[in-house]
Amino acid sequence: MKEVACKSTWPHGRHALDSLMTMLDQIFVTIKQWLLTFIPENLHPIGSALLSIVAIISVFGTAFALTTILERKGLGRIQNRYGPNRVGPCGFLQPIADAVKMLTKEDIVPYAADKVLHYLAPIVLTVPIWLAFAVLPFGRNMSAIDLDAGIVFFFAAGSASELAVFMAGWSSHNKYSLIGAMRGIAQMISYEVPLVLSTIPVLMLSGTLNLNEIVNAQSGFAFGVGKWNVLTPWGAAGFLLFMIAATAESNRAPFDLPEGESEIIAGYLTEYSGFKYALFFLGEYLGLFAVTGLAVTLFLGGWNAPLAFLSVLPSWFWFFAKFGALIAVFIWARGTVPRLRFDQLLNFAWKFLVPLAVVNLVVAGIWHFASVSWPAPSLSRPLEYLETVAPRWLACAGLFFAAYEILGRVLSLKRAPRTYRYAE
């Protein structure tokens, strides 16, 4: 992964431990530099790109395999059963067995299908998703490309998946596939709006679209706690909105209607099998990973350590720790929350998330102007710092919470609380 000039913010070592940790922190960058010395100078850009691609594909491919097994085991625990435990130690080689099964299965294409599109759909889904990883900063000086409009690139790369879903559903020439695809597209379009809107406060407050700079804006510590966006009222609200919209964007429970097994068999995947099915599976997980990585970058401080004294650990460790924690949250939610009905799903997006995200924009604006008008004094005077920051905090949080209350009440208007009747 490429170094972004040498503007490391690491405090250069006073102790041997510090320099060791610096080395550990930059180990991947160093390895890449070293590898590049083996190829001629004029091929460096291509070589660098190839190395980044190989690294990303191997890391996230492994993460995919690991996540499938962990998800199955986690769901099993939640549902009070064991989950896969036969292949390998504790069943941890299950992904390999799965892969072998998927690759050796017969690839069936329906007679009435639009053959070309049916073939292209899984590719169109999987390939652009890989692109999205290119702009994510995985650690200090570790992002494949340092784009000025990084986040726009990210969303642009993600927008191809809707077309892929449509291609899969329509080309299968199957009623369930088409319904699943239509559901999927409607859901993705609807939730793309809150997803993007909830990121805008971050862009507003850090004044850049560059993901590396967004992470830099979150570096530093106040009272020993990282200055993450999620620790501000607009950031916390935006994070929640983002996570909800991200769940829906990646078609995961409780928003997994496009593939709702109990209703439409498997949605747009109905007519797929074998390797193509595996590709779809991979594409969906990669989408989840990408959006999770973005959440970490935008709200959870990217590769910054949570507490000041923990910043001795390497930056990439922190990125992947947060990443793993968020993935765990997704698995947990999948095992816990029941599926929505479709009209509820769309109402929730348009009547609740979108207005709330707009309110959050206003909140972020107020926060910005408050911090410009009443700048916080230095941290060395904690009481005065609290005195100026607390009112701003309360006002912003209060505004968002009021909007949340009102919108929530409006959304559940004319709905009596659910009553249950039991057999007597």
Partner: protein, 205 residues
């Protein structure tokens, strides 16, 4: 030289996708090839150092307009393939003739001008920061007008496309697809139901 090669590849890709979009007989295929053409154009924009526009092009055209087009095709039963018989009609021939005229009218001035063999200045870039600054200062009024226009278009599109019977509560896009299938179901289910009720009536009589 590599620049030219990249450009030519992009151009050929874009143009062939565009021709396909205009000539394929199945409208769904047309829309998908159009998406390809739009993506190719975005690559051309990137080649012109217009990073932001390239990504915005993909976001808007591939991510939104193509999808919208496909939805419309499906909602209007447009996915039925056009019959070939009508292609070489009189209007088609006049259309193509006029198109050739228009092409000539555009390309003739382009290639006859001395300006067109100019090469680009070395340093030209529009960082996102400067685009943002311009939008908030010099182009503030257009931006506001654009916001108004988009809002009006949003409301207008919803109002136009809304069903005529507002008492039937249903969603604009996906539910109508769902409804088509539901009516399909009910047409199969209904006769059986009618049969059973008739039987019951007969027995009571």
């Amino acid at each position: 030289m590599p620049n030219k090669i990249t450009f030519c590849l992009t151009a050929i890709f874009t143009l062939s996708a565009a021709v396909a979009a205009m000539r394929l007989r199945n409208p769904v295929h047309c829309a998908l090839s159009a998406a390809l053409a739009f993506a190719g154009l975005a690559v051309a924009f990137l080649g012109l150092d217009a990073e932001f526009i390239g990504f915005a092009q993909i976001l808007v055209y591939v991510g939104a307009i193509s999808i919208l087009t496909i939805f419309t095709v499906l909602l209007t039963r447009g996915s039925e393939v056009e019959q070939r018989a009508a292609i070489f009609s009189r209007s088609w021939i006049t259309g193509i003739a006029i198109t050739i005229g228009v092409t000539g009218a555009i390309l003739l001035p382009v290639f006859s001008s001395s300006l067109s063999f100019k090469t680009a200045p070395v340093a030209a870039s529009a960082p996102v920061q400067s685009i943002g600054n311009e939008l908030m200062t010099r182009y503030l009024l257009p931006l506001e007008v654009m916001g108004l226009l988009l809002t009006a278009a949003l409301v207008g599109a919803v109002v136009i496309a809304m069903s005529d019977a507002p008492d039937k509560k249903r969603l604009v896009v996906p539910a109508s697809v769902g409804r088509a299938s539901v009516t399909g179901f009910s047409s199969e289910v209904l006769p059986a139901k009618a049969g059973t009720t008739n039987q019951r009536e007969l027995t009571t009589v």
